[in-house]
């Protein structure tokens, strides 16, 4: 499956020396400011913002292009210092919660929040530690928002703390049925629920197979992958994760209308199994521990597993930067995960910085031009459009509660705990044949791609000036600056090129877009000039060149 080294030839050896195994900050070599043209700096900035925010804006590009790549470190530091925008607060200020109002609130957050990096990392985490409202949680909008805030709280925190808060979240408790999980009852053939125990290990922390630090699978002497655990281990953790239920119940079986979906679950000692259990890597949980002591011991035993660093690091790289990171890149980041330089494991802030500042993140597209990057997620294509072109409604809201139907992706609405796509998905055909991964392609098929293309069409052509039959909640694009450029097509396309595709537009694409714009002739009426800009944005956004974040 892994062939990166074939296309990352000597450059990586060079890189390793120049990087000094770094990634902890400032490891990237960069050209002095004076030697780089403004255009190049802008393109680098736009590319960086695609990896670290919900979409590049002209203001952010301007601000970042005043510096060299090396100084992105300062931007990261500044971002990390910003107070967290809370989805709970955005949603909570609404008088009433209409259908899927948490989706609208999320769109508002993604498009407008200042703490873009924190929230973008939370988005990545939400696709690893998955919960979804598609099962039984649809009405728990504040609980879902609070779960999002838990992820965002730990975007730059410690992964071990994230494990605790996710495990005790009543939303997760309900989603993977650890809530109400009780000790065995042999007379009634009832044994603990294995759901959370299994998915916590398989999907949230260590995965199915033993990994090397660079994310590649370890193989036994016969060349087979080595399972990380067996059924006995799942059963053992299922026993440990007993005795937790909604906070504030009078008794374990109490039923009421308003269960507490916000506060962490609480332990109910009578329902906790207190036997001794053998856990991962032969660690033995002693008997007669409290529910909380057992939980901490169990989570520690998972966190200490050597798989956690490569398993989480690689997925975060895939979700922010590139679907096919080289093993060396994964290893550099995993090393930071294992030790942030201060002998702390699990420091996600250090990990995020290492991912974004790594030379492969900054220059990988130049060294592996045929594969580097990732297919943009549908949701990020929408937020990107609105951020780049100042999408806003008179009400200030971003109402698109059925975005899941339109774009086949929405926050906290995955079809199952396996997310919208698997990190190991590989598009059949040349991509799979060459042994590469393309996770986001799992959302794009011959049907969904039409829906996405059509809905982008609607979000652009039906949302421009001259087409002014808007409701107060219609998100309208502000294209005044672009419209003013239609008499200088190349200038217009340069601007769109920078915003949409970090300056990578081919001559052929530019010519094709011009051809379409010229179809509208010389008419300088408002509708026609708006249409010219709309044509360019639509065709570029849906072009094979732009849809891949490189």
């Amino acid at each position: 499956m892994y062939k990166f080294w074939l296309i990352f030839p000597l450059s990586y050896l060079l890189l390793l020396t120049s990087c000094g195994g770094g990634g902890g900050g400032g490891g990237t070599t960069s050209t002095p400011l004076s030697e780089e043209s403004l255009t190049v700096r802008q393109q680098k900035a736009s590319r960086f913002l695609a990896q670290s925010t919900f979409g590049a804006t002209e203001d952010d590009i301007d601000s970042l292009s005043k510096t060299t790549v090396k100084d992105y470190n300062q931007w990261i530091t500044d971002q990390m210092a910003l107070p967290q925008t809370k989805l709970y607060d955005i949603l909570g200020s609404k008088a009433e919660y209409e259908w899927n109002e948490h989706i609208n609130a999320w769109l508002y957050l993604a498009v407008t929040c200042d703490d873009q990096l924190r929230q973008r990392v939370a988005f990545a985490l939400s696709e690893i530690l998955v919960i979804s409202d598609q099962d039984t949680l649809g009405e728990q909008k504040l609980g879902l928002a609070n779960y999002w805030d838990i992820l965002a709280k730990h975007s730059f925190g410690n992964f071990r703390d994230l494990m605790t808060d996710v495990t005790l979240s009543p939303i997760m408790g309900e989603y993977l049925s650890m809530k109400g999980n009780e000790k065995p009852n042999l007379e009634e053939n009832i044994r603990p629920d294995e759901n959370y125990a299994r998915e916590l290990m398989q999907l949230f922390t260590i995965g199915l197979y033993m990994l090397n630090e660079d994310g590649t699978p370890k193989l036994d002497s016969d060349g087979n992958k080595i399972p990380t655990y067996d059924q006995d281990i799942v059963v053992a953790y299922a026993h440990v994760f007993t005795g937790w239920n909604f906070a504030g119940l009078n008794d374990w079986y109490e039923w009421k209308e308003d269960f507490d979906y916000i506060s962490p679950m609480e332990a109910y000692p009578d329902y906790h199994d207190t036997d001794t259990h053998t856990l991962l890597q032969g660690k033995v949980l002693p008997a007669n521990k409290t529910a909380r002591e057992s939980l901490d011991y169990a989570l520690d035993s998972i966190f200490e597993h050597p798989n956690v660093a490569p398993f989480i690091s690689k997925q975060l790289i895939q979700k922010l930067v590139t679907s096919n990171p080289s093993p060396a890149y994964v290893k550099r980041v995993a090393k930071i995960f294992n030790n942030n330089g201060k002998n702390v494991k699990g420091d996600l802030g250090a990990v995020v910085r290492a991912i974004l500042m790594d030379d492969e993140a900054r220059n990988g597209h130049l060294k592996a031009p045929t594969i580097f990057g990732k297919l943009r997620e549908p949701l990020l294509r929408v937020t990107g459009l609105w951020r780049a072109f100042h999408g806003a409604a008179a009400t200030g809201k971003y109402e698109f509660s059925w975005i899941l139907e339109a774009f086949k992706q929405a926050p906290l609405q995955a079809p199952s705990v396996f997310n919208f796509y698997s990190p190991s998905f590989s598009q059949p055909g040349p991509v799979a044949d060459a042994g590469y991964l393309s996770p986001e392609f799992q959302m794009y098929d011959e049907s969904s791609i039409i829906s996405m293309t059509n809905n982008l069409y609607a979000l652009i052509y039906w949302r421009i000036k001259g087409n002014d039959d808007f409701d107060v909640d219609t998100v309208v694009l502000d294209l005044d600056e672009e419209i003013a450029m239609v008499n200088d097509l190349d200038k217009l396309l340069d601007k769109l090129n920078l915003l949409i595709m970090a300056g990578t537009m081919s001559t052929e694409l530019r010519d094709a877009v011009k051809e379409m714009i010229l179809e509208h002739g010389e008419d300088s009426g408002e509708w026609h000039t708006s249409m010219k800009v709309a044509e360019a944005i639509f065709l570029m956004l849906n072009s094979p060149e732009a849809v891949i974040q490189k």
Binding site: S177, I190, T370, P428, F441, S447, E545, V547
Partner: protein, 449 residues
């Protein structure tokens, strides 16, 4: 809703049609040498999440029901919620199907539907002792959803990568090139089952076949210009593998949408009403239409994948299963009626799959991931009204229990698949090639056709 009323008016005013000339041009591309000349359509109904087959087909009275009840405890179905059936060969005790399955029980009685007892993923037959002593060969990661889905879908000795068995069937039919419309069509999620070495499935999740906005009205010159430019953009040479892969999906979507739009547009509307809010029914409705135009599309063989999720019943199982089985029964009832109305029922074989069964034991208010499972096949060519395979003992720690009531299968998915492939029209040697692991099971194919 996000779009306002005016938007909908705009949308509905978009002309959906294509000219007949364009359509015949597209169809001509689909003509090639055919391996088969008669028409058959295979429909896989994937019960995703791990369906609890032991509450699908179960003892209904007497000692075996008591045994069932004592093992399943609060997961047991009350006797009055089981409809007794009389298989042609008695398993030695009275059995029934969950009564919420509705019409499916009638299908069994009419001889259209057959039940398969205790099927599952195996490398070779394994006994309880071999399992407990860890001496038998096992599929990798037995109780994990995606691993077992993949195992089921690939059925190769190393079920990790490689083409799925429906994909391999399509490969055998079209070794030279992939047709314009793939033999394999998924109305559900992407699945590995339909990915071949050379053939590729056509994924139309949900069965939706929309037209492209702003590129579909042949009377609008701007639309047609945009269409031309868009196609030109998709054809720009690009060395990036991911850009190319995206361009291919978009190009395929444009071609296939045009073709299906025309062919489906000419199809007479069916009078059958599908159940509301039934996702499986929605997919089956699209499937019925595609089978109805099978000859027009010049596809002697079609393979469909439809999916019903929600079977991962770790909690609230009893109530959830009632609803799920009801939906399953209603969707199949409408689908079958639809196939009969289109006059294509005789060519269809439907079969169910699920990554695993569930534990006989309870986790409080649900069940966890098991292994062997009871499944069904249906079609006019099925020798129905019968249970194929041995009904397992449901005693905890009994002869068929690997532990906690995860029942060891006694028929393998390979045997199941091979039987289906034989019906599909493949020769003995082709079936052996398709299912390399079949020889590990001395019973060979299952005799339900």
């Amino acid at each position: 809703m996000y779009f306002n009323r005016r938007d909908f008016l705009k949308y509905s005013s978009l002309t959906m049609g294509m000219t007949g000339l364009m359509a015949s041009g597209l169809l001509a591309k689909n003509q090639k040498k055919k391996k088969f000349t008669d028409s058959k359509a295979l429909v896989c109904i994937s019960l995703a999440g791990g369906m609890d087959g032991y509450n699908f087909l179960l003892p209904v009275s007497g000692e075996k029901y008591d045994e069932y009840k004592s093992s399943r405890q609060n997961m047991a179905i009350a006797q009055d919620k089981i409809t007794e059936i009389t298989p042609k060969t008695s398993p030695g005790f009275s059995v029934g199907m969950h009564s919420k399955l509705g019409k499916m029980v009638d299908f069994f009685n009419e001889g259209k539907l057959a039940l398969l007892a205790n099927v599952g993923n195996l490398v070779k037959p394994i006994t309880r002792d071999e399992y407990r002593n860890k001496t038998g060969k096992l599929p990798m990661e037995l109780f994990s959803h995606n691993s077992q889905q993949k195992q089921w879908q690939l059925l190769t000795p190393s079920s990790e990568i490689g083409p799925g068995w429906a994909g391999r069937m399509a490969d055998l039919m079209n070794s030279d090139e992939t047709p314009l419309i793939s033999t394999n069509i998924s109305l559900g999620a992407f699945n590995n089952w339909q990915v071949g070495k050379s053939s590729r499935p056509f994924n139309m999740s949900g069965g939706e076949i929309a037209s492209y906005y702003g590129m579909s009205n042949p009377d609008d010159t701007t639309d047609m210009k945009r269409r031309e430019v868009f196609k030109k953009i998709l054809a720009i040479p690009n060395e990036h593998l991911l850009s190319n892969a995206y361009g291919q999906i978009q190009s395929r979507a444009m071609q296939i949408t045009d073709l299906l739009k025309v062919s489906l547009g000419e199809l007479k509307a069916s009078s059958v009403t599908y159940p509301a809010d039934n996702w499986l029914g929605y997919q089956l409705q699209a499937t019925a239409k595609l089978i109805a135009i099978q000859e027009k599309l010049e596809m002697p063989r079609q393979i469909f994948y439809v999916e019903m999720s929600g079977f991962d019943t770790h909690d609230k199982q009893v109530d959830r299963m009632d609803e799920l089985f009801k939906q399953l029964g209603e969707a199949l009832e409408a689908f079958w009626k639809d196939l009969e109305e289109y006059g294509v029922a005789d060519r269809v074989l439907m079969f169910s799959s699920s990554e695993f069964g569930r534990t006989i034991t309870s986790n409080g208010d649900g069940t966890d991931h098991g292994w062997g499972n009871h499944l069904f096949v249906m079609g006019n060519q099925v020798k129905g009204g019968e249970i194929y395979g041995k009904m397992p003992s449901l005693i905890i720690e009994g002869e068929d229990d690997s532990g906690d009531g995860r029942i060891i299968p006694t028929q393998s998915a390979d045997q199941y698949g091979a039987t289906i492939a034989e019906w599909f029209g493949f020769s003995e040697s082709e079936v052996t090639e398709l299912f390399p692991n079949l020889s590990s099971f001395s019973d060979g194919k299952i005799k339900f056709i």
